[in-house]
Amino acid sequence: MIDAIFAHLPILLIVMPLVAAPCCVLTGNGRAAYALALVVSLLTFACSITLLEETLVHGVVRYELGDWSPPYGIEYRVDIFSGFVMSFVSGIGAIVLVYAPLSVRDEISESKHYLFYATYLLCMTGLLGMCVTGDLFNVFVFLEISSLSSYALISLGRTRRAPLAAFQYLILGSIGATFILIGIGLLYQMTGTLNMGDIAARVPHEHGPRTVLVAFAFLTVGLCVKMAVFPLHTWLPNAYTYAPSVVTCFIAATATKVSVYAFVRIIFEIITPGFAFDVLPLDTELMLFSLVGIFIASIAAIYQDNVKRLLAYSSVAQIGYMLLGISMATPTGLSAGIVHMFNHALIKGGLFMVAGCFALRLGSVQLSDWKGAGRTMPLTSLAWAIGGLGLIGVPLTAGFISKWLLLTSAFEAGRWPVAALMLLSSLLAVVYIWRVVETLFFAEPSEAAANATEAPLRMLIPTYVLIGATLVFGVWTSYSAGIARQAAIALLGGTP
């Protein structure tokens, strides 16, 4: 019995939330839907961890959907990299759900609660599906599932700007998705298969027809939109700002990371680093856009008065750090990029949860309303300070690990100007984080802050789980940087 379940884990991971979502709708009741969503998300987390463990011990896990062997059927394929990403995506998804109910009750009207939890599960299905599948068209399908459900989630925000932000995201996201679809179509035309492994084996790189180049271009640009790489990031600040707090926590921590995951897969397995970085100048371009994006987005973050928007711009900047690491295409650089996906998910998820706590108690995410809240909400404010130190990359926080790896990889690759610029850019993070810290602890309390009470424990504990994790993974790195390194070596080892 156990063995039977074990053999079907990759598909269970997708089927459970996918089936639970309509069940949530059927219950028609917010509480029941929440209970179901929570149980399912915890189960998916358990599944992902088991799968990751399995890949670490026995290598790649393959699963043939409906026993149709590839390339006729769809193949699910879990390796260390996908296991790692799906573990933290489902883990953070579960923690955010634990955190969710009070915030959801505050920000979303009662009648929509069950729909919210159903959509949340759908979004999770899409994200996990992108990690688990080995079929390129399937990637697109899951990408659309997650995107469509996140448009719906974002539009639930309590202001009237939320639907507009969702619509903006819908337009840009759909353009991105269409680009990806065109890219996939062209590759299918050239190779006659949709299985990623098969495509990689058959695609003619050098001296190949121009179609292949065009396909790569479409895929890259399409994914850059979904990753919110500068200057294709314009959808992100509004979407993060106007979405309900819980949605922002979840999407900020997971959605862009999974797009980065898909990007890495496509670059390293289909386009191959040799072609992308040696023949094509993709590494230089990525580095250029990352660095420009890091600086511009960080400076933009400094001038925001809305804290969620501030964090959103910071996310755009942090995506730049991940891509910097990836563009090095060395084991250290790639593992820096991968581990930063994880570390940043923890840090940014935690910080958005803090913002959610303040939104609940102070009724606002404007910095001017947070004045002096450090006196009445010391624990929540302390969580911001710790998370913020992580974002800056101070030692003993997770952010330091990513930054150190990135720095060493830049030196290994002899790109010391990149290293210097990267360090300078992180000083900008000091400015935007510390602006908030000073407002919290030193300003005269605003009226709302003076009358506020500490955030409820049901929200504070999950927040501190994530914030605490940034400290744990800042010291003990064998399960973050260690796995990321294995994943990076596997990704690079599969190529000549």
């Binding site: 150190w404 010391w416 290293a419 300078l424 030193f442």
Partner: protein
């Protein structure tokens, strides 16, 4: 108990203190008592560790790899041992002083205050014992973060501004320069371990780094270690003076600033190697930067009427002495610099203690208001005078020896301009320190000239000293700065091994 164990015990004790302080937060007597007890225990542990270390032992303790190739490891050598001794010894006195001061002032948030204090001591010890740059860097940053709440303790607008400059300069220099320098060193040497004679000699011999590159690297370290307060990155030190006086005393006379100059010395001795620095002369321009800093800081100090601000600029100048010693890289200058870590720490903490005592007893912050105060507070001002003598570098103050060795270092390297700078600065030290106790003793009290009670009764009845908890520590440190004059030989012998070149 083997010396290896004593390393982790001495690191665990301050952490234990943090736990106890937070646990006993509601009962101040237990809280402060446990803080003091652990400070005492810590000094016993470091003192017994030092016996072996000064006899030539090099105890080690390896906590494990944090990232491949970068481990958290500790290895005690004489320079770090001296620094740890100074920091842990003065922690006892500061704890006693802080209890008197904080209670006398009815300061709020005392639990947070003592807890952050203990973390800073932990960071100082971790830095002192660090076996590689990676560990040193982590301890350095822990120190920066843990002292921020101390600097901004009062939570006022002024505290906020001071804290912003403090954190801004220290974090940005360490991230932008220090971290870059460490990784650069690692890419050149393949390791970041401290090793006598340095680890960069191979890279230089194989021409993997040019002379200019090497000079830039030394500069990155010297300026990146912002806590050494080399101009133009010195502004954080006066800004941090908004902190309560015990913080200024321990952290800005001992722990924070000394971690800075200590790191600079450690980098010069164990990363570059004195021989390499001497042969290539790449660090000489930094000796001039230090020379510039020490003269200018003394000049600025003369213009300050606020006592703590004057002491802050004096500290900047005295730190530059140590950096100068490290950058000249001769055995004498390095020993002088190392010695000055201890001499200046004991002297400057006395001066800060005095400043705090004056503030507690007479509520005076400005030097111009202190005239005639010496009759009311004879002990405080006598201690001030003794410590000033040591800082200036006159016998029988301990500072005489360290400044002597530094001056010998400048002559040995034929940098006579620097010798002149040292002499001018010493004169300036006299000019800005000695008038303070002199005017306090000699001049009549300015604001109440006709008060008859001043003239009647014995001098004892007129004494209005600060509470005992404040006065006793400052007398002890003042005596200490004289004792160090006679203990200089012992420090010299202890530090001699770090100047040797391994055969």
């Amino acid at each position: 108990m083997s010396p290896d164990h004593m390393i982790w015990i001495s690191l665990a004790l301050p952490i234990l203190a943090v736990g106890l302080i937070v646990f006993f937060g509601k009962t101040p007597d237990l809280r402060d008592g446990s803080s003091g007890t652990i400070a005492g225990l810590l000094f016993i542990v470091t003192a017994s560790l030092s016996i072996g270390v000064f006899a030539g032992e090099r105890p080690e303790w390896n906590l494990g790899e944090m990232l491949p190739g970068f481990e958290i490891a500790f290895r005690v050598e004489p320079l770090g041992m001296l620094f740890a001794l100074v920091a842990s010894g003065l922690w006892i006195l500061t704890t006693a002083y802080a209890i008197g001061y904080m209670r006398g002032h009815h300061e709020k948030q005392q639990t947070r205050f003592f807890a952050c204090f203990a973390i800073a001591i932990f960071a100082a010890l971790a830095a002192a014992f660090s076996a590689n740059l990676f560990t040193l860097f982590i301890a350095y940053e822990v120190m920066t973060i843990s002292t921020y709440p101390l600097v901004t303790h009062h939570g006022t607008e002024e505290a906020k501004r001071g804290g912003r400059i403090y954190l801004g300069i220290l974090l940005s220099t360490s991230i932008a320069f220090f971290m870059l320098a460490i990784v650069w060193t690692w890419s050149l040497a393949g390791t970041v371990d401290f090793k006598l004679g340095g680890i960069l000699a191979d890279a230089v011999a194989e021409n993997r780094i040019s002379q200019t590159g090497l000079a830039v690297l030394v500069g990155l370290f010297a300026f990146g270690i912002g806590k050494a307060a080399l101009m133009p990155f010195h502004r954080w030190l006066p800004a941090a003076m908004v902190a309560p006086t015990p913080v200024s005393a321990l952290l800005h006379a001992v722990a924070v600033v000394k971690v800075g100059v200590f790191s600079v010395m450690k980098v010069c001795v164990y990363i570059f190697g004195l021989e390499l620095l001497r042969e290539t002369g790449v660090s000489l321009y930094l000796a001039y930067v230090a020379g510039f800093t020490l003269v200018v800081a003394s000049l600025v100090a003369m213009t300050k009427d606020n006592l703590k601000a004057r002491l802050a600029y004096s500290t900047i100048g005295q730190l530059a002495y140590i950096t100068l010693g490290a950058m000249l890289a001769t055995p004498n200058s390095v020993i002088g610099g190392g010695m000055h870590i201890a001499m200046h720490a004991v002297g400057k903490i006395t001066l800060f203690f005095c400043a705090g005592a004056i503030y507690v007893a007479a509520h005076k912050k400005n030097i111009s208001e202190m005239e005639g105060l010496g009759r009311k507070m004879p002990l405080t001002f006598a201690a001030f005078l003794i410590a000033s003598v040591s800082i200036i570098g006159l016998p029988p103050g301990g500072g005489a020896w360290s400044k002597w060795f530094l001056a010998v270092g400048t002559v040995e390297t034929h940098q006579y301009l620097l010798t002149a700078a040292l002499m001018v600065s010493s004169l300036l030290n006299i000019a800005y320190l000695i008038p303070i106790p002199m005017r306090a003793f000699m001049k009549p009290k300015s604001d109440t000239p006709d008060d008859p009670s001043q003239e009647t009764g014995s001098w004892l009845a007129n004494m209005q000293e600060a509470p005992m908890m404040c006065v006793v520590p400052l007398c002890v440190t003042a005596i200490g700065s004289v004792v160090l004059f006679f203990a200089a030989e012992w420090i010299y012998q202890a530090l001699l091994p770090i100047t040797m070149t391994p055969s």
